[in-house]
């Protein structure tokens, strides 16, 4: 069992949990993810790693309630534990293994959408710790859905906030915010975009327009996360790649986002059926 040491609701639907997973915590790097299986009958759910502490043997995950399985995860409380937590999975972000000379000349802009803000945090933190200039854009639908604002402020040079409805920061989407920031004279050699597939698609288009290379982190379907099932296959530059072992980060310019979005919805019908039958475990009489 992997104990939940700390649980906080960041918004009414987004939850942050600190888990005990010593082996995983010692090996995790920015850009990687993990898989949680809440209990014997649960699914294996891939989640991004939003922080890790090798010394303490802990990893932090941020989950948004979407379907039956994520609702189950959120229903767990401090002191309880998950049946399985495995990782780190996928390759670390490119900059982690980049030669220092090459990295030294870079200026990063990390663009986060919604719950995708959580995995951006360890990336910004790593870059900041290594003295690489890094700015961050956090975008959300509305003020109440913004997460990691204070944490992020501490690990980047400039933090830009935008909301679709203008309830906080700049009014507009991440794409508009990016154009605005660049028009004000900020220059970047590399963008990293993490958020919903549709947001990554459009932000990549904006990056292309602005001439900024863009890396995206794909949250595809997967079962094992080790290259076994192939559910995560994506077309990158016309070639089929497995997001779990060859990703999750790819060159955004090369990703076939429309195919990726279509493939993401592959089990929608089955899941809708499951949601209908699902017995919510919140307040399961403990």
């Amino acid at each position: 069992m992997y104990e939940i040491l700390k649980k906080e609701m960041l918004t009414p639907t987004i939850c942050r949990m600190k888990l005990s997973a010593p082996r995983l915590a010692a090996a995790a790097r920015p850009g990687q993810f993990l898989i949680v299986r809440a209990d014997e009958k649960g699914e294996r759910i891939p989640l991004t790693i939003s922080d890790y502490d090798a010394q303490a043997g802990t990893v932090t995950i941020v989950t948004q309630k979407i379907g039956a399985s994520s609702a189950d995860i959120i229903a767990y409380e401090e002191g309880e534990g998950f049946a399985d937590v495995v990782g780190p999975l996928g390759l670390p972000s490119e900059f982690v293994e980049m030669a220092h000379e090459k990295l030294a000349g870079q200026r990063y802009i990390l663009i986060a959408g919604g719950v995708g803000t959580a995995p951006v945090y360890p990336q910004a933190k790593w870059l900041k710790e290594h003295g690489i200039p890094v700015d961050v854009i956090i975008g959300a639908k509305t003020r109440d859905l913004l997460i990691y604002v204070e944490e992020m402020r501490g690990v980047c040079d400039n933090l830009f906030i935008c909301t679709d409805d203008g309830s906080e920061g700049f009014k507009g989407m991440g794409t508009h915010m990016l154009e605005h920031v660049v028009s004000e004279g900020h220059q970047y050699t590399q963008a990293v975009i993490i958020g919903p597939m549709i947001m990554m698609k459009f932000t990549t288009m904006t990056c292309r327009k602005l001439g900024i290379p863009a890396t995206v982190s794909l949250n595809t379907l997967m079962v094992d996360g080790t290259g076994m099932c192939g559910a995560c296959r994506v077309s990158v530059g016309g070639k089929t790649r497995f997001a779990c072992v060859e990703g999750p980060e790819f060159d955004g310019y090369e990703v076939d986002f429309d195919e990726a979005m279509r493939r993401q919805g592959q089990y929608k019908a089955e899941e809708a059926e499951a949601n209908e039958k699902h017995v919510c475990k919140i307040g399961r009489g403990k």
Binding site: R23, L24, A27, R37, K41, G42, E43, R44, A68, S69, D72, A83, D84, V85, V86, G87, P88, L89, V223, D224, T226, G227, M228, C229, G230, A231, R233, V234, S235, T240, V245, E259, R262, R263, G265, Q266, Y267, A269, E270, E271, A274, K277, H278
Partner: protein, 461 residues
């Protein structure tokens, strides 16, 4: 004198009934049937069956004990050479191994060695297990990567010799392909596999799940920081192959690995599990091996009409004869000499048909099988909702990529000599990770061979 009766038939679930459930197909022998079948063994002076068994089970000896009614004794004889008899009795290709070399098979039917092995193992599990005791520790630590057949066989032998063995498993459940690949109706998980794993643990073998070697921890760290003196890699062949034809990324195209893992490991067939699975009304399974049969029969049980699409003829099907026979009985359609050239989709990006070409057999290829050649202008469509690719698998590069000094072949298989020694000192390997996809029993044989080599190696340290 051996009994000159015909081979005792084994009871099976009715094909029409079993096509709708996941209960085991074969019921196996009862004690009376087993003893009757055991009476057919000639007890050859030079038993060819033993030589044909990759783990060299003393077959006539255990059959003798079955005949005498000493089932516990029979289990003890098998346990000396095999740690997974209930599994092997069910999934081994006996027709090409032990039973294939049985003298009785020349003029009639060979002794049903597999069914007898299964009987003994099931009897043993139902009657308290083999009673194996944990041997005195010899003070040496060995790590085993992967809890499939190769790893379990290697770990069991080492544990019997006093080694402290830890198996690292990437998934949340032990068993490897026995857990995620082979379906419940051929190998029941709780009733059979879990019991065999208990026996392995009873020898003192520790199994740590959720550890991906190459990601969670490296081989180097196991040896340098955790004090393992040797490592056995039995990580199998887990990467699925696709055909590389247009339309393979359409919704509704799955690898057999994904389809079977969802159903076996993740129990999608059970209402009380959350795992989704998609079969639809009609499924085409591409391929002709045992995995293709497993995927086809699983899809059938989920309610689909199922076609097996294979480019050669039925004679060349690599699947076991028994599996093909069972699949046919259950109503699976075999479209032979048929090769897919494209998966066709609808306007929403879901599969609507498999475009195929008819084949004919040409000259024999390097495997000795006549290679299929496309007949020009013979293209046609098979309407289908789902396509499952069962074209074979290759070893996962996660370990070879993260371990210095570990050579792989062009096909991604680990390089190992006949003892299992790899190109890295202290690191041994066996099973599908070395050979590419093969059988449970060959992997077990390789695991045992490597266990011996590891014992020899550690004694020289």
């Amino acid at each position: 004198m051996p009994n000159k009766i015909p081979r005792v038939p084994v009871r099976e679930q009715d094909p029409l009934v079993r096509a709708k459930n996941f209960e085991e197909v074969c019921y196996g022998y009862n004690a009376e049937e087993a003893q009757l079948e055991a009476s057919r063994c000639l007890h050859c002076k030079n038993p060819r069956c033993v030589g044909a068994c990759p783990v060299s089970i003393k077959i006539p000896e255990f059959i003798g004990k079955v005949l005498a009614g000493d089932f516990r004794g029979a289990a003890g004889v098998i346990a000396e050479d095999s740690s997974l008899p209930a599994v092997c009795g069910r999934v081994c290709p006996q027709e090409s191994q032990c039973e294939g070399s049985c003298i009785l098979g020349i003029k009639g039917e060979p002794v049903a060695i597999g069914k007898l092995e299964r009987f003994v193992a099931d009897w043993s599990h139902a009657n308290g297990g083999s009673g194996a005791v944990v041997p005195a520790p010899n003070g040496h630590k060995v790590a085993v990567v992967g809890s499939g057949p190769a790893g379990l066989a290697c770990a069991s032998d080492l544990a019997k010799w006093g080694y402290s063995v830890t198996i690292f498993e990437a998934l949340h459940k032990a068993g490897g392909v026995l857990e995620y690949g082979i379906p419940e109706f051929r190998l029941p998980k709780e009733k059979v596999l879990a019991k065999e794993l208990e026996e392995v643990k009873r020898l003192g073998v520790k199994i740590e799940t959720n550890v991906i070697i190459g990601r969670t921890v490296t081989i180097d760290a196991l040896m340098d920081k955790e004090g393992f003196e040797a490592v056995f890699i039995g990580s199998g062949a887990g990467l699925p192959k696709f055909m590389g034809i247009p339309g393979e990324n359409l919704n509704g195209v799955f690898s057999a690995n994904e389809f079977l893992t969802r159903n076996n490991l993740m129990k999608a067939f059970r209402e009380d599990y959350l795992t989704p699975i998609h079969a639809g009304k009609k499924v085409c399974v591409v391929g002709g091996g045992n995995v293709a049969m497993d995927a086809a029969r699983t899809a059938l049980r989920l309610g689909a009409e199922v076609h097996v699409v294979y480019r050669r003829t039925e004679v060349e099907l690599p699947a076991r004869v028994e599996e093909v026979h069972h699949a046919k009985e259950e109503g699976i359609v075999f479209d032979m000499l048929t090769n897919p050239v494209e998966v066709l989709g609808d306007e929403k990006g879901w599969v609507r048909a498999l475009r195929c070409v008819r084949m004919q057999l040409g000259e024999p290829d390097e495997s000795g099988r006549r290679s299929p050649v496309a007949i020009p202008g013979s293209e046609f469509e098979i309407p289908t909702e789902t396509v499952i690719m069962a074209l074979g698998t290759s070893p996962n590069p996660l370990i070879s990529k993260t371990t210095a000094g570990l050579d792989v072949t062009r096909r991604g298989c680990l390089v190992a000599d006949e003892t299992g020694a790899t190109t890295r000192r202290g690191v041994f390997a066996g099973g599908d990770a070395v050979t590419g996809a093969a059988t449970v029993i060959l992997a077990m044989g390789a695991g045992r061979t490597a266990a011996k080599a590891i014992d020899d190696y550690i004694k020289t340290l």
